[in-house]
Symmetry: none
Subunit: 197 residues, 4 copies
Amino acid sequence: MARMTKEERKTTIISAALQLFSERGFYITTIPDIAKKVGMSVGNFYNYFNSKDILAKELIIYISEYLGRNIRVINEKESSTEEKIYEIVSMYFNMADEEPEMIEYFLRVYLSNREIFGDGCEGMLCVSPFVTEMMMFFNDGVECGKLHNQDFFSAFGLFMGYLGGMVFLFGEKILPEPLEWYKESISQNIYNALKTR
Amino acid sequence: MARMTKEERKTTIISAALQLFSERGFYITTIPDIAKKVGMSVGNFYNYFNSKDILAKELIIYISEYLGRNIRVINEKESSTEEKIYEIVSMYFNMADEEPEMIEYFLRVYLSNREIFGDGCEGMLCVSPFVTEMMMFFNDGVECGKLHNQDFFSAFGLFMGYLGGMVFLFGEKILPEPLEWYKESISQNIYNALKTR
Amino acid sequence: MARMTKEERKTTIISAALQLFSERGFYITTIPDIAKKVGMSVGNFYNYFNSKDILAKELIIYISEYLGRNIRVINEKESSTEEKIYEIVSMYFNMADEEPEMIEYFLRVYLSNREIFGDGCEGMLCVSPFVTEMMMFFNDGVECGKLHNQDFFSAFGLFMGYLGGMVFLFGEKILPEPLEWYKESISQNIYNALKTR
Amino acid sequence: MARMTKEERKTTIISAALQLFSERGFYITTIPDIAKKVGMSVGNFYNYFNSKDILAKELIIYISEYLGRNIRVINEKESSTEEKIYEIVSMYFNMADEEPEMIEYFLRVYLSNREIFGDGCEGMLCVSPFVTEMMMFFNDGVECGKLHNQDFFSAFGLFMGYLGGMVFLFGEKILPEPLEWYKESISQNIYNALKTR
DNA sequence: GATGAATGAGCTTTCATTCAT
DNA sequence: AATGAATGAAAGCTCATTCAT
């Protein structure tokens, strides 16, 4: 194995685990599976992560930070609220298309196996970078008069629930069209739902 | 044990399994757990369901039929599309509040552990009673000119993704208000998103 | 089910069990399998045989008596020793061909799962009708000067080992020719091995 | 536990399993039994053999190779066909006497539980080293004019069936004399059966 | 840091047998 | 005699985690 810092090695593991967890699920993926994929011994794996659960938690933090950064970039642009909605939808769908592991992990591991994320990830603790950024987007929209001022979580549930639902249908190969095809209309639907009345 | 027909006994098991699966997840719930909860021996459990996987599949069918029936009742009413949206939201949130097992199972077991529902439940096979009824609702709305004619799955994803998202936030105790409180605004959001433009 | 005496019913069970045991083996065949094949409930099975082991023992006795009767018929004929050898070989191979259950049971269940036939079937207790008749054949052959006077078990081992071996090869579909084809040469081999020197 | 290579450890398991399987049979011997006999945990057993069935198959290959080697040594001697027959009989009976596990396994596990040896051991696949060597012996005998030229399987069935039958009777403690005592006469019987006419 | 053999608890599933009806 | 639901012990196998090297 190439010489690597401890941090780099952790990233390698994160990457392999992400792929396996998102494809097969948390319980079906074994530590030997992950170690094998990384090309590392089982024993050594535990030098980097103290348990399977801890790995799962670090994974969701990693993803949340990644998503958060992406949304921040959009937030910082000069575009209109409508455009930002489109850009978030677009970014999300592109990820789902091109590197689906993160979003799949989010939907299928994090959201569904809450027992794993009990200690230290209660509530939204582990996804706050991402949630915070969504909150920013929403507040900006309200402030500039474009979005109806309502309970944040209602807006958040709409936005993320909608996108998650579509990605799920996409993953199940149920959608008649590619994700790309839906970007426009979905952005419109979201805007219509959230805009000032 | 009380005198019961075989069918009644199956229902008892379904009920117990639903509770455990939805609370703890599929992989953490064991057959001994279920048998114990029913007050039955492990061996006898297998006289009713040939495997854990088959139980899981029967469960989702059971739920889908239940949800389908509930939505059908709403569909058959004389109310307006706006009212129907509210009634579906209301029914869904009431279930999430009062008998959360079904919806939790739907969200946390069915949607997330697709490997279990491979054989015989591919795509939407096992949830078609429910999906069909949602399709009915949507088609009616389009026909009577209230809803914008778009790809069904986009509308479906919005509706169910939104509700699922809210129930998730509710389950995580993240919502500042009770579900009841959101019914009105969420119905409005959904209507605004889907209505004729 | 047709009206039957207890004895007739036992025979029905014996027949079904024989088929299943000989095809699948003792441990793989379950009591429910047998009951189903007979068209009888599991519980009722135990009114006829107190245990799976006891059934196995009654089966081997049944077979041994059947084989014994067949050999006795041959023994009582006026034919020469050579002819009798041929007739025994022929009878054995015909059985293996047309109703293989008994011989398969003998070879694959009785001979190989001695743990089952411990209590009450030690040594040759349960197959004595058959062994006795083979002893008769051999003694007659020695008395009339045709067969070399040697230890009975050596002759018995040759005769039955040979036939069993051939039937095994036949069952495994390894033999290039049908059993029929071997009758003559095998009888000759046996005679050459046992005849007076 | 003593220091051992992985291969040595496998041999230890093979040895223990052979003993248990041959004594008690395949189905009655459990993996915990084997693990205990080796002084190893159940889980660790599976680091060496992926399943009970695979162990059974490796066992028969191991035995077949062992027997094959032993017969090859005899085949390569300069002795006459008669002498070789005696030596094979002698080798076989010595094994049955001194280290009966292999032959017992062959007779009681391999020959009788064919369902286990389905995948990968069909026909004579797993015993070909042994069968091949017997074929060599027979062909040599025919070529040098000592043995009657007949179907190989008929000769093979006689030879191995006979020996198997005697070992079975021996194992059941039915033989009035020790195996040793029979070597001479049995070799003669076999030679008389197979020799040129 | 790195290895992978070793552990052991625990899972799903099977089945001979019993027993209330 | 007949039914088949019920029992419970035990089997094969898995896997997170540890630990000697």
